[in-house]
Protein backbone atom coordinates (compact mmCIF):
# COMPACT_ATOMS: atom_id res chain seq x y z
CA UNK A 1 0.00 0.00 0.00
CA UNK A 2 1.45 3.33 -0.92
CA UNK A 3 1.21 6.03 1.70
CA UNK A 4 -1.05 8.15 -0.50
CA UNK A 5 -4.02 5.79 -0.29
CA UNK A 6 -3.34 4.86 3.32
CA UNK A 7 -6.05 6.16 5.64
CA UNK A 8 -4.65 5.97 9.17
CA UNK A 9 -6.73 4.98 12.16
CA UNK A 10 -6.07 7.43 14.95
CA UNK A 11 -7.52 7.07 18.42
CA UNK A 12 -8.31 10.42 19.99
CA UNK A 13 -8.72 10.78 23.75
CA UNK A 14 -10.55 14.05 24.37
CA UNK A 15 -11.28 15.51 27.77
CA UNK A 16 -14.91 16.13 28.46
CA UNK A 17 -14.66 19.72 29.67
CA UNK A 18 -12.64 21.46 26.97
CA UNK A 19 -11.43 19.42 24.03
CA UNK A 20 -14.53 17.33 23.47
CA UNK A 21 -16.53 20.55 23.40
CA UNK A 22 -13.95 22.03 21.06
CA UNK A 23 -14.54 19.08 18.75
CA UNK A 24 -18.26 19.61 19.08
CA UNK A 25 -17.78 23.24 18.22
CA UNK A 26 -15.84 22.27 15.09
CA UNK A 27 -18.82 20.11 14.12
CA UNK A 28 -21.46 22.74 14.77
CA UNK A 29 -19.46 25.34 12.91
CA UNK A 30 -19.08 22.86 10.04
CA UNK A 31 -15.31 23.19 9.98
CA UNK A 32 -13.91 20.41 7.84
CA UNK A 33 -11.42 18.06 9.42
CA UNK A 34 -9.87 14.74 8.44
CA UNK A 35 -12.16 11.81 9.31
CA UNK A 36 -9.38 9.62 10.69
CA UNK A 37 -9.67 10.30 14.41
CA UNK A 38 -11.92 7.96 16.40
CA UNK A 39 -12.86 9.90 19.48
CA UNK A 40 -12.99 8.48 22.99
CA UNK A 41 -14.32 10.92 25.54
CA UNK A 42 -12.56 10.86 28.90
CA UNK A 43 -13.33 13.03 31.88
CA UNK A 44 -9.85 14.54 31.93
CA UNK A 45 -6.66 14.17 29.92
CA UNK A 46 -5.18 12.98 33.23
CA UNK A 47 -7.37 9.90 32.90
CA UNK A 48 -5.39 8.75 29.87
CA UNK A 49 -3.32 5.99 31.39
CA UNK A 50 -0.25 5.18 29.25
CA UNK A 51 -1.71 1.71 28.95
CA UNK A 52 -4.56 3.17 26.87
CA UNK A 53 -1.97 4.35 24.38
CA UNK A 54 -0.14 1.01 24.31
CA UNK A 55 -3.43 -0.80 23.94
CA UNK A 56 -4.51 1.44 21.07
CA UNK A 57 -1.33 0.53 19.19
CA UNK A 58 -1.68 -3.13 20.05
CA UNK A 59 -5.23 -3.14 18.71
CA UNK A 60 -4.15 -1.65 15.42
CA UNK A 61 -4.18 2.13 15.78
CA UNK A 62 -1.66 3.97 13.64
CA UNK A 63 -1.60 7.01 15.88
CA UNK A 64 -2.92 8.43 19.14
CA UNK A 65 -4.12 11.95 19.82
CA UNK A 66 -4.58 13.21 23.38
CA UNK A 67 -6.31 16.53 23.88
CA UNK A 68 -6.96 18.34 27.14
CA UNK A 69 -7.72 21.76 28.54
CA UNK A 70 -5.02 24.40 28.24
CA UNK A 71 -2.50 24.49 31.12
CA UNK A 72 -4.14 26.17 34.09
CA UNK A 73 -7.65 25.37 32.81
CA UNK A 74 -8.05 21.72 33.78
CA UNK A 75 -11.40 21.11 35.40
CA UNK A 76 -9.60 18.99 37.97
CA UNK A 77 -6.83 21.59 38.39
CA UNK A 78 -3.77 19.34 37.98
CA UNK A 79 -4.85 16.62 35.56
CA UNK A 80 -3.36 18.09 32.42
CA UNK A 81 -0.03 18.83 34.14
CA UNK A 82 0.21 15.16 34.98
CA UNK A 83 -0.49 14.40 31.33
CA UNK A 84 2.13 16.94 30.29
CA UNK A 85 4.73 14.99 32.29
CA UNK A 86 3.56 11.55 31.34
CA UNK A 87 3.32 11.89 27.59
CA UNK A 88 6.91 13.05 26.88
CA UNK A 89 8.24 10.20 29.03
CA UNK A 90 5.90 7.80 27.27
CA UNK A 91 7.14 9.05 23.89
CA UNK A 92 10.72 8.38 24.89
CA UNK A 93 9.72 4.87 25.91
CA UNK A 94 7.74 4.31 22.72
CA UNK A 95 10.78 5.27 20.63
CA UNK A 96 12.69 2.49 22.40
CA UNK A 97 9.89 0.14 21.40
CA UNK A 98 10.18 1.18 17.79
CA UNK A 99 7.13 3.45 17.78
CA UNK A 100 7.94 6.83 16.30
CA UNK A 101 7.11 9.51 18.83
CA UNK A 102 5.24 11.52 16.20
CA UNK A 103 2.56 8.85 16.24
CA UNK A 104 1.49 10.32 19.56
CA UNK A 105 0.38 13.91 19.83
CA UNK A 106 -0.56 15.76 22.97
CA UNK A 107 -2.14 19.16 22.68
CA UNK A 108 -4.56 21.54 24.32
CA UNK A 109 -7.90 22.62 22.87
CA UNK A 110 -10.48 24.73 24.68
CA UNK A 111 -14.25 24.54 24.27
CA UNK A 112 -14.28 27.49 21.91
CA UNK A 113 -11.39 26.39 19.68
CA UNK A 114 -13.18 24.44 16.97
CA UNK A 115 -10.76 25.66 14.32
CA UNK A 116 -7.77 24.69 16.45
CA UNK A 117 -9.25 21.23 16.96
CA UNK A 118 -9.66 20.77 13.27
CA UNK A 119 -6.15 21.92 12.36
CA UNK A 120 -4.57 19.63 14.98
CA UNK A 121 -6.59 16.71 13.63
CA UNK A 122 -5.46 17.53 10.10
CA UNK A 123 -1.83 17.85 11.15
CA UNK A 124 -1.69 14.63 13.08
CA UNK A 125 -3.46 12.78 10.28
CA UNK A 126 -0.96 14.08 7.71
CA UNK A 127 1.95 13.17 9.99
CA UNK A 128 0.75 9.62 10.57
CA UNK A 129 0.03 9.20 6.86
CA UNK A 130 3.60 10.16 6.19
CA UNK A 131 4.86 7.59 8.73
CA UNK A 132 2.73 4.85 7.22
CA UNK A 133 0.81 2.01 8.85
CA UNK A 134 1.82 0.73 12.26
CA UNK A 135 2.08 -2.93 13.05
CA UNK A 136 2.94 -4.91 16.16
CA UNK A 137 4.79 -8.19 15.83
CA UNK A 138 3.52 -10.64 18.35
CA UNK A 139 6.14 -13.31 17.90
CA UNK A 140 9.17 -13.31 15.74
Amino acid sequence: MSNSDFEPKIVGFLCNWCSYRGADMAGTARIKSAPNVRVVRVMCSGRVDPIFVLKAFKEGADGVLILGCHPGDCHYVEGNYKTARRVPLLKKMLEQLGIEEERVRLDWVSASEGDRFSSIVNEVTAKVKELGPFRVNERG
Binding site: R86, P88, L89, M93, G98, E138
Partner: protein, 317 residues
Protein backbone atom coordinates in the same frame (compact mmCIF):
# COMPACT_ATOMS: atom_id res chain seq x y z
CA UNK B 1 1.85 -41.88 49.63
CA UNK B 2 3.76 -42.83 46.51
CA UNK B 3 6.66 -40.53 45.81
CA UNK B 4 5.98 -37.67 43.44
CA UNK B 5 7.90 -37.39 40.20
CA UNK B 6 9.56 -34.03 39.79
CA UNK B 7 11.27 -32.48 36.77
CA UNK B 8 13.36 -29.30 36.82
CA UNK B 9 14.36 -27.63 33.61
CA UNK B 10 16.25 -24.54 32.54
CA UNK B 11 15.63 -22.74 29.28
CA UNK B 12 16.91 -19.19 28.61
CA UNK B 13 18.11 -18.53 32.14
CA UNK B 14 21.26 -17.73 34.06
CA UNK B 15 21.16 -20.80 36.30
CA UNK B 16 20.22 -18.72 39.34
CA UNK B 17 16.81 -20.36 39.70
CA UNK B 18 18.43 -23.78 39.94
CA UNK B 19 20.79 -22.43 42.57
CA UNK B 20 17.79 -21.01 44.43
CA UNK B 21 16.40 -24.55 44.64
CA UNK B 22 19.70 -25.68 46.16
CA UNK B 23 19.53 -22.69 48.53
CA UNK B 24 16.73 -24.35 50.43
CA UNK B 25 19.67 -26.17 52.05
CA UNK B 26 18.77 -29.14 54.25
CA UNK B 27 15.14 -28.85 53.17
CA UNK B 28 16.27 -30.33 49.88
CA UNK B 29 16.23 -33.59 51.83
CA UNK B 30 12.51 -33.09 52.43
CA UNK B 31 12.13 -32.63 48.70
CA UNK B 32 14.10 -35.83 48.11
CA UNK B 33 11.80 -37.54 50.62
CA UNK B 34 8.74 -36.23 48.84
CA UNK B 35 9.79 -36.64 45.24
CA UNK B 36 11.97 -38.54 42.80
CA UNK B 37 13.70 -36.20 40.43
CA UNK B 38 13.40 -37.40 36.83
CA UNK B 39 15.15 -34.51 35.07
CA UNK B 40 17.46 -31.77 36.33
CA UNK B 41 20.07 -30.79 33.76
CA UNK B 42 22.05 -28.62 36.18
CA UNK B 43 22.58 -31.44 38.67
CA UNK B 44 21.66 -34.87 37.34
CA UNK B 45 22.47 -36.87 34.26
CA UNK B 46 19.09 -37.66 32.76
CA UNK B 47 18.58 -37.30 29.02
CA UNK B 48 15.67 -36.04 26.95
CA UNK B 49 15.02 -39.55 25.67
CA UNK B 50 14.34 -40.68 29.23
CA UNK B 51 11.55 -38.13 29.35
CA UNK B 52 10.28 -39.02 25.87
CA UNK B 53 9.96 -42.64 26.99
CA UNK B 54 7.71 -41.72 29.91
CA UNK B 55 3.95 -41.90 29.73
CA UNK B 56 2.01 -38.69 29.22
CA UNK B 57 1.12 -37.03 32.52
CA UNK B 58 3.43 -39.25 34.52
CA UNK B 59 5.53 -36.41 35.92
CA UNK B 60 3.66 -34.83 38.82
CA UNK B 61 5.32 -31.44 38.80
CA UNK B 62 7.68 -29.68 36.44
CA UNK B 63 9.50 -26.59 37.66
CA UNK B 64 10.46 -24.80 34.45
CA UNK B 65 12.84 -21.88 34.74
CA UNK B 66 14.03 -19.56 32.00
CA UNK B 67 12.27 -17.93 29.10
CA UNK B 68 11.87 -19.46 25.65
CA UNK B 69 14.20 -17.96 23.07
CA UNK B 70 14.96 -20.86 20.75
CA UNK B 71 13.28 -23.87 19.20
CA UNK B 72 14.95 -26.41 21.47
CA UNK B 73 13.57 -24.66 24.54
CA UNK B 74 10.12 -24.57 22.98
CA UNK B 75 10.32 -28.24 22.06
CA UNK B 76 11.34 -29.28 25.57
CA UNK B 77 8.65 -27.05 27.08
CA UNK B 78 6.07 -28.87 24.95
CA UNK B 79 7.52 -32.26 25.83
CA UNK B 80 7.54 -31.52 29.55
CA UNK B 81 4.01 -30.13 29.33
CA UNK B 82 2.82 -33.34 27.75
CA UNK B 83 4.50 -35.47 30.40
CA UNK B 84 3.58 -33.33 33.43
CA UNK B 85 0.40 -32.96 35.41
CA UNK B 86 1.43 -29.61 36.82
CA UNK B 87 3.58 -27.11 34.98
CA UNK B 88 5.15 -24.34 37.02
CA UNK B 89 6.69 -21.21 35.53
CA UNK B 90 9.52 -20.91 38.01
CA UNK B 91 11.24 -17.55 38.29
CA UNK B 92 10.83 -14.22 36.51
CA UNK B 93 12.15 -15.41 33.13
CA UNK B 94 9.62 -18.21 32.78
CA UNK B 95 6.86 -15.97 34.16
CA UNK B 96 7.52 -12.67 32.36
CA UNK B 97 10.55 -13.08 30.09
CA UNK B 98 13.04 -11.81 32.66
CA UNK B 99 16.43 -10.36 31.84
CA UNK B 100 16.80 -12.38 28.59
CA UNK B 101 13.67 -10.65 27.32
CA UNK B 102 15.57 -7.36 27.20
CA UNK B 103 16.60 -8.98 23.92
CA UNK B 104 13.12 -8.04 22.68
CA UNK B 105 14.46 -4.51 22.18
CA UNK B 106 16.49 -5.99 19.35
CA UNK B 107 16.21 -9.04 17.10
CA UNK B 108 18.11 -12.07 15.88
CA UNK B 109 19.95 -10.30 13.08
CA UNK B 110 21.21 -7.56 15.39
CA UNK B 111 22.15 -9.99 18.14
CA UNK B 112 24.07 -12.19 15.68
CA UNK B 113 25.81 -9.16 14.25
CA UNK B 114 26.90 -8.11 17.72
CA UNK B 115 27.87 -11.56 18.96
CA UNK B 116 29.60 -12.94 15.86
CA UNK B 117 30.97 -9.83 14.14
CA UNK B 118 31.23 -6.74 16.32
CA UNK B 119 32.26 -8.20 19.66
CA UNK B 120 35.98 -7.50 20.06
CA UNK B 121 37.08 -11.11 20.42
CA UNK B 122 35.72 -12.09 16.99
CA UNK B 123 37.79 -12.82 13.94
CA UNK B 124 34.99 -13.68 11.59
CA UNK B 125 35.98 -12.11 8.29
CA UNK B 126 33.87 -14.44 6.16
CA UNK B 127 30.81 -13.51 8.26
CA UNK B 128 29.72 -16.97 9.23
CA UNK B 129 26.69 -17.22 11.49
CA UNK B 130 25.08 -20.20 13.20
CA UNK B 131 22.80 -22.06 10.78
CA UNK B 132 19.95 -24.34 11.82
CA UNK B 133 21.39 -26.99 9.55
CA UNK B 134 24.82 -27.43 8.02
CA UNK B 135 26.06 -30.19 5.71
CA UNK B 136 29.53 -31.45 6.50
CA UNK B 137 31.38 -34.51 5.24
CA UNK B 138 30.13 -36.63 8.10
CA UNK B 139 26.50 -35.70 7.48
CA UNK B 140 24.08 -32.98 8.49
CA UNK B 141 24.49 -30.99 11.69
CA UNK B 142 21.57 -29.23 13.32
CA UNK B 143 21.27 -26.34 15.72
CA UNK B 144 18.11 -24.99 17.35
CA UNK B 145 16.57 -21.95 15.71
CA UNK B 146 17.25 -18.71 17.55
CA UNK B 147 14.06 -16.62 17.78
CA UNK B 148 13.71 -12.91 17.20
CA UNK B 149 11.43 -12.69 20.21
CA UNK B 150 11.95 -14.05 23.72
CA UNK B 151 8.75 -15.71 24.96
CA UNK B 152 7.33 -16.60 28.35
CA UNK B 153 6.59 -20.22 29.18
CA UNK B 154 2.85 -19.48 29.04
CA UNK B 155 3.32 -18.18 25.48
CA UNK B 156 4.11 -21.72 24.35
CA UNK B 157 2.30 -24.09 26.75
CA UNK B 158 -0.44 -24.03 29.39
CA UNK B 159 0.93 -23.24 32.83
CA UNK B 160 -0.71 -24.08 36.16
CA UNK B 161 1.33 -21.97 38.58
CA UNK B 162 3.64 -19.01 38.53
CA UNK B 163 6.41 -18.59 41.08
CA UNK B 164 7.98 -15.19 40.37
CA UNK B 165 11.31 -13.79 41.48
CA UNK B 166 14.81 -13.35 40.19
CA UNK B 167 15.37 -15.84 41.66
CA UNK B 168 12.31 -16.99 43.63
CA UNK B 169 13.05 -16.47 47.33
CA UNK B 170 13.67 -19.54 49.44
CA UNK B 171 10.57 -19.11 51.60
CA UNK B 172 8.39 -18.98 48.50
CA UNK B 173 9.96 -22.20 47.22
CA UNK B 174 9.38 -23.83 50.59
CA UNK B 175 5.81 -22.59 50.61
CA UNK B 176 5.28 -24.19 47.22
CA UNK B 177 6.85 -27.48 48.37
CA UNK B 178 4.66 -27.42 51.45
CA UNK B 179 1.46 -26.80 49.47
CA UNK B 180 2.48 -29.59 47.15
CA UNK B 181 3.27 -32.03 49.97
CA UNK B 182 -0.04 -31.35 51.69
CA UNK B 183 -2.01 -31.35 48.42
CA UNK B 184 -3.20 -27.80 49.09
CA UNK B 185 -2.16 -26.08 45.89
CA UNK B 186 -4.54 -23.25 44.93
CA UNK B 187 -6.68 -23.42 41.77
CA UNK B 188 -4.60 -23.38 38.56
CA UNK B 189 -3.57 -19.99 37.25
CA UNK B 190 -2.43 -18.74 40.64
CA UNK B 191 0.65 -16.62 41.09
CA UNK B 192 2.29 -17.81 44.27
CA UNK B 193 3.10 -14.42 45.76
CA UNK B 194 1.18 -11.55 47.30
CA UNK B 195 -1.95 -9.97 45.81
CA UNK B 196 -0.75 -6.54 46.89
CA UNK B 197 1.91 -4.24 45.54
CA UNK B 198 5.37 -4.14 47.04
CA UNK B 199 4.63 -0.61 48.28
CA UNK B 200 1.71 -1.98 50.29
CA UNK B 201 4.13 -4.26 52.11
CA UNK B 202 6.99 -1.80 52.40
CA UNK B 203 7.57 -0.28 55.81
CA UNK B 204 9.53 2.75 54.69
CA UNK B 205 8.09 6.14 55.62
CA UNK B 206 5.95 7.61 52.85
CA UNK B 207 5.09 11.28 53.10
CA UNK B 208 3.35 11.85 49.77
CA UNK B 209 6.37 13.90 48.91
CA UNK B 210 6.92 15.22 45.40
CA UNK B 211 10.29 15.08 43.70
CA UNK B 212 12.12 17.36 41.33
CA UNK B 213 15.16 15.27 40.43
CA UNK B 214 15.94 11.65 39.67
CA UNK B 215 19.01 9.95 41.07
CA UNK B 216 20.42 6.72 39.72
CA UNK B 217 21.44 4.29 42.47
CA UNK B 218 25.14 5.12 42.15
CA UNK B 219 24.52 8.86 42.51
CA UNK B 220 23.10 8.86 46.02
CA UNK B 221 23.29 7.03 49.33
CA UNK B 222 19.63 6.71 50.22
CA UNK B 223 18.29 7.32 53.69
CA UNK B 224 17.42 3.88 55.02
CA UNK B 225 14.04 4.69 56.56
CA UNK B 226 12.40 6.75 53.84
CA UNK B 227 10.61 5.69 50.69
CA UNK B 228 13.20 5.45 47.92
CA UNK B 229 10.92 6.85 45.26
CA UNK B 230 10.31 9.94 47.39
CA UNK B 231 14.09 10.36 47.52
CA UNK B 232 14.14 10.51 43.74
CA UNK B 233 15.32 6.95 43.11
CA UNK B 234 13.28 4.96 40.62
CA UNK B 235 11.82 2.18 42.75
CA UNK B 236 9.41 -0.13 40.95
CA UNK B 237 7.45 -0.85 44.14
CA UNK B 238 4.22 0.81 42.95
CA UNK B 239 4.17 -1.37 39.81
CA UNK B 240 5.42 -4.63 41.33
CA UNK B 241 3.73 -7.53 43.07
CA UNK B 242 4.70 -8.03 46.70
CA UNK B 243 5.80 -11.26 48.28
CA UNK B 244 9.58 -11.17 47.88
CA UNK B 245 10.22 -10.16 51.47
CA UNK B 246 11.49 -6.79 50.22
CA UNK B 247 14.90 -8.17 49.47
CA UNK B 248 16.25 -5.14 47.65
CA UNK B 249 14.53 -2.51 49.78
CA UNK B 250 16.14 -4.00 52.87
CA UNK B 251 19.51 -3.75 51.20
CA UNK B 252 18.75 -0.04 50.63
CA UNK B 253 18.38 -0.64 46.91
CA UNK B 254 15.30 0.17 44.83
CA UNK B 255 13.00 -2.56 43.59
CA UNK B 256 13.70 -3.44 39.97
CA UNK B 257 10.40 -5.20 39.46
CA UNK B 258 11.31 -8.87 39.39
CA UNK B 259 7.96 -10.02 40.82
CA UNK B 260 6.11 -8.66 37.81
CA UNK B 261 2.97 -6.54 37.83
CA UNK B 262 0.54 -6.77 40.78
CA UNK B 263 -2.98 -8.16 40.46
CA UNK B 264 -5.10 -6.06 38.10
CA UNK B 265 -2.16 -4.36 36.38
CA UNK B 266 -1.76 -5.37 32.75
CA UNK B 267 1.45 -3.62 31.95
CA UNK B 268 4.15 -3.02 34.51
CA UNK B 269 5.95 -0.39 32.44
CA UNK B 270 2.89 1.74 31.80
CA UNK B 271 2.01 1.57 35.48
CA UNK B 272 5.48 2.62 36.60
CA UNK B 273 5.65 5.39 34.06
CA UNK B 274 2.40 6.82 35.44
CA UNK B 275 3.55 6.49 39.01
CA UNK B 276 6.78 8.30 38.28
CA UNK B 277 5.20 11.11 36.27
CA UNK B 278 2.69 11.61 39.09
CA UNK B 279 5.16 12.28 41.86
CA UNK B 280 7.15 14.79 39.84
CA UNK B 281 6.51 18.34 40.94
CA UNK B 282 7.16 20.29 37.76
CA UNK B 283 5.07 22.07 35.18
CA UNK B 284 7.38 23.95 32.84
CA UNK B 285 8.16 22.36 29.51
CA UNK B 286 11.93 22.72 29.92
CA UNK B 287 11.78 21.13 33.36
CA UNK B 288 9.74 18.26 31.98
CA UNK B 289 12.32 17.76 29.25
CA UNK B 290 15.02 17.59 31.93
CA UNK B 291 13.03 14.97 33.83
CA UNK B 292 12.66 12.92 30.66
CA UNK B 293 16.44 13.14 30.18
CA UNK B 294 17.07 11.96 33.72
CA UNK B 295 15.09 8.80 33.11
CA UNK B 296 17.94 7.45 31.04
CA UNK B 297 16.40 4.19 29.85
CA UNK B 298 12.66 4.17 30.53
CA UNK B 299 11.77 0.98 28.66
CA UNK B 300 14.74 -0.98 30.04
CA UNK B 301 14.02 0.25 33.56
CA UNK B 302 10.25 -0.19 33.62
CA UNK B 303 10.27 -3.51 31.75
CA UNK B 304 13.53 -4.86 33.13
CA UNK B 305 11.96 -8.25 33.88
CA UNK B 306 8.71 -7.97 31.98
CA UNK B 307 9.20 -7.39 28.27
CA UNK B 308 7.78 -10.73 27.12
CA UNK B 309 4.57 -10.32 29.08
CA UNK B 310 4.16 -6.60 28.38
CA UNK B 311 1.40 -5.18 26.25
CA UNK B 312 3.64 -4.72 23.21
CA UNK B 313 5.93 -7.67 23.92
CA UNK B 314 8.81 -6.48 21.79
CA UNK B 315 10.22 -3.63 19.81
CA UNK B 316 8.46 -3.21 16.52
CA UNK B 317 10.43 -4.88 13.75
Amino acid sequence: MAKLKLALYWAASCGGCDIAVLDINEKILDVAELADIVLWPVALDFKYHHIEAMEDGSIDVCLFNGSVRNSEQEKIARLLRQKSKVMVAFGSCACFGGIPALGNFTNRAEIFERAYIEAPSNNNTDRSFPETSVKVEEGELELPEFYDTVLTLADVVDVEYFVPGCPPPVDLILKFVDLLATAQLPPPGAILASEKTLCDECERVKEEKKITKIYRPHQIIPEPEKCLLEQGIICLGPATRGGCGMRCIQANMPCRGCFGPPAGVYDQGAKMLSALASIFDIKEEAEIARMVDEVVDPAGTFYRFGMSSSMLKRKRM
